[in-house]
Amino acid sequence: MREFGYQRAYDVAGAVALLDAAPDTRFLGGGTNLVDLMKTGVERPARLIDIRELPLDRIEVTAEGALRIGATVTNGDLAAHPEVRRRYPALAQAVLAGASGQLRNMATVGGNLLQRTRCGYFTEVSQPCNKRAPGSGCPAVAGEHRNHAILGASDHCVAVHASDMAVALTAFDAVVHYETADGPGELPLADFYLPVGDTPHRETALPAGALITGVTLPPAPVAAHSRYRKVRERASYAFAIGSLAAALDIRDGIVRDARLAFGAVASRPWRASAAERVLTGAPAVPETYAAAADAELAAARPLPRNGYKVDLIRNLTVTVLTELAEEAAR
């Protein structure tokens, strides 16, 4: 780890100004991803700006009924918050499915959105990786890619996004707020992560010098009836090999509204819009759910050793939507 300067910011404008003032500077939130990457040499910042003391640690219900989550709210506090659990249970479940109790107490909402992939080639600096060292190649395509992407990847990078939280946020149309030296801005989460293409090192659409200040979840009654399911290679404390956030509103046996997003299948949380279109207005029966999954997964391009993810996501979709429908009928 190279030597670095350290400063604390106490207000948002100050933080943004500090970042603007020097190159190779990173914001430090919980540090659960950044400090690890600094130890492995993936990140080598010259300066850290500690933003944990910024007044961005609150969760509020806005006048419009939206939920505004500050960027430095910890994952632990987010999952424990009664309004999150009441309005968006899948979000609480997603956060609780991630990492460990210790890490959730440290990790922040803003940092979680920006966490880097856990691809084993990305985190080993002696190996080629287009995301870490553009143009060096992607050994995962011909190598260890059991847990890599089946959707939206390219020959340049097949890594998956590691966040559980972001999958649920994606399903519920979250909007990311940020601040730059030129003022505030916002990005729907749907547009926040960039397509992989031939620039896997460019991960988000955040403008240079921007600080994430929070996330807003618009009111969504359907989300009150939602669920997050995560499958991993051990029962806890492991990254997903496939996950799903789903919400269903069923009336008179017909799906009126549906939200669906997949995790661990792409370089970003994957909003299953094609599946949602199939679901909406269709009879709430397993055949509909399977057809919805198939519609989304038609675009899947599995690698030689991760084709199981297609089956996994399809099965998860049918199972979880069936569970939600059965609960609604009770």
């Binding site: 780890m1 190279r2 030597e3 492995t40 040499g41 856990r118 084993g120 080639y121 985190t123 080993e124 002696s126 190996q127 050994p139 011909a142 190598g143 260890e144 059991r146 499958v231 290679e233 051990r234 029962a235 806890s236 404390y237 492991a238 990254f239 090999i241 496939g242 050793r305 991760n306 199981y308 089956d311 996994l312 099965n315 998860l316 049918v318 199972t319």
Partner: protein, 712 residues
Amino acid sequence: MSTATTTTSAHAPSVGTGHTRVEGRDKVTGAARYAAEVPFAGLAHGWLVLSTIARGRIRSLDTEPVLAMPGVLAVLDHRNAPHLNTDYTGLMGLRPDPTCAVFQHDRVPHLGWPVALVVAETSEQAREAAETLVVHYEQEPHHVELSGDHPDAHPVDGHEPAVTEKGDLDARLASSAFVVDAEYTTPEEHHNPMEPHAATARWDDGRLEVTDSNQGVTWVAGELQNLFSLDPASVRVRSEHVGGGFGSKGVRAHQVAAVMAATLLQRPVRVALTRRQMFALAGHRSPTVQRVRLGADADGRLRALEHRSVSRTSTVYEFVEPSAGVARVMYDADAHHTANHVVPLDVPSPTWMRAPGEAPGSFALEAALDELAEKCGIDPIELRLRNEPETGPVSGLPFAGRDLAACFREGARRFGWADRDSRPGVRREGRWLLGTGTAAASFPAGAQPSTASATAHPDGTFTIRISAADIGTGARTALTLIAADALQVPPERIRVRIGDSDFGPAGIAGGSMGTRSWSWAVKAAAGELRERLALGAGLPAQGLTVRSDTTEAVEALGPAERHSYGAQFAEVAVDVTTGEVRVRRMLGIFAAGRIVNPLTARNQLLGGMVWGISMALHEEAARDRASGGVVGADLAGYHVATHADVPRIEAGWIEDTDPDDPVGIKGIGEIGVVGAAAAVANAVWHATGVRHRSLPIRPDRVLAAAAGAPDA
């Protein structure tokens, strides 16, 4: 002078009753210091630089800019390191693994080979400097992939012969009513003790002092003394608390590098491995490819048994994972063939890992037995009982106690085996398919010569000194109880000091031999001390000390098949739509000799079974063909079982002893893992009807099987 204060009246035996660990308070308060936690004035920090190629030659190292970095004291590499002697046979009867003889030449035999040590004032400085060091290589093509039919596979004797053969295998297979012929594979596995390897070396008045974390101070001191051509009396190795070992904590690159640097700089130098470095430098269990062929009569009696195992070693050291050895103990047949083969590849040297041979070997053999039971239509326990041998299947020697049948009877009763419906794939609970499985276990019961001393103090207390290691086994507490009974005093009056090579030679914490070997020596010393005290020997102020040496007694042990046995039971739940497998309950019943401390013994046996769960479902190092290294070489990439993976499991034991051992101990460190993965895999078959012959049973494998792929 005071008089002896031992008492012979009303002494309640300590052995056999549960005692909390004598160092327990230190461990729960954080007071127990492990190797990297002992402070030294003037300590410098060494950081190893590992190769980034898997095969080739070091062309040059750009050490100049690194030496100019803040705090950097030295860079050691093959051009300036002291010469090591590698021409010797060590305590374990083995030649040194060149992997620990660092910086002797410019060859690179695997990815992660130590090419330099950077020493600096602080660990942060050492790390940054090590990461900055540019090494130029001449790279050569490498090969890391093991296959069952690899052309370079050849038989290798380990602690046992590579090949045993009796009878005409093909003829017996051809005439068998039922035949199983299957290939089983197990992956590369890593010990990953929670405490990373760490050593501090320093010279003190002409003596080399090493503060280490290892499984045997006598062993490590001997290796260092040989490597550095030192006088035996001038090397002292201490290892008071050890944060797990499982076979990985012998002599390794870090101790040798620390000694080199301390010698060069004449100040204390600590070298600690990072978790990532451990994947290259701490040893591992080789993957195995095993073929098992069984032929049986209509009544399930084995007529033919073949177990062939191929494992992998490095190009610089021949280590065999003797997986086929387990069949030489467990089952007899008219035709009985076993063979352990090895393929040298461009990988780090593998080493002993908890139940070497038996852990992967029992998976293959006990899974094959389950397949045979299915084919014969015989209950898996009944099949095993019908095949209990009278004498050693290969050796012909008598068994020094073999209570496998009793383990199965007791286990079946407690587990509720009698109610089992043998049909696979017919029990469902919500999204889960349920199944149960069983497997047999055995592990050799050995002993190593050891010395110990027992001292009576005028205040009525006693001190036992022995170069033992407590790597979590509870050895320190067990030896306290052994000494208490030998002296016929309460254990509170005994102080056991271990982990110091100055206490005299003793065996290692390994091969399930530690507590047995040390107890033997402690009982001898303490027993003799008691006799002397009973004769009325007066106690001088410095106390009265008696020494023991079990070398002759251990060597006088008559030839016999000496083993621990066990019966493993598991119930699993499988969701074939997600591939998730969960162990719901597990029971192991063992015949493992005398149980010294039931509290810690239960814990250790359960720990072995947890390893079985972990091996069956989680553990696997993915070695990358292109780079030759492990991808995801950390505890997020290499999964060991978490709390959530382990339900309430139970371990129990039956009365058992070894009549030739003065304490009757057989050893319990390894038997818990043997057969455990097979029991889980057999339960997965019972739940789903699919045989998983490759470990770990990952979700993708379960899903592939559900999607109609042939047996995984």
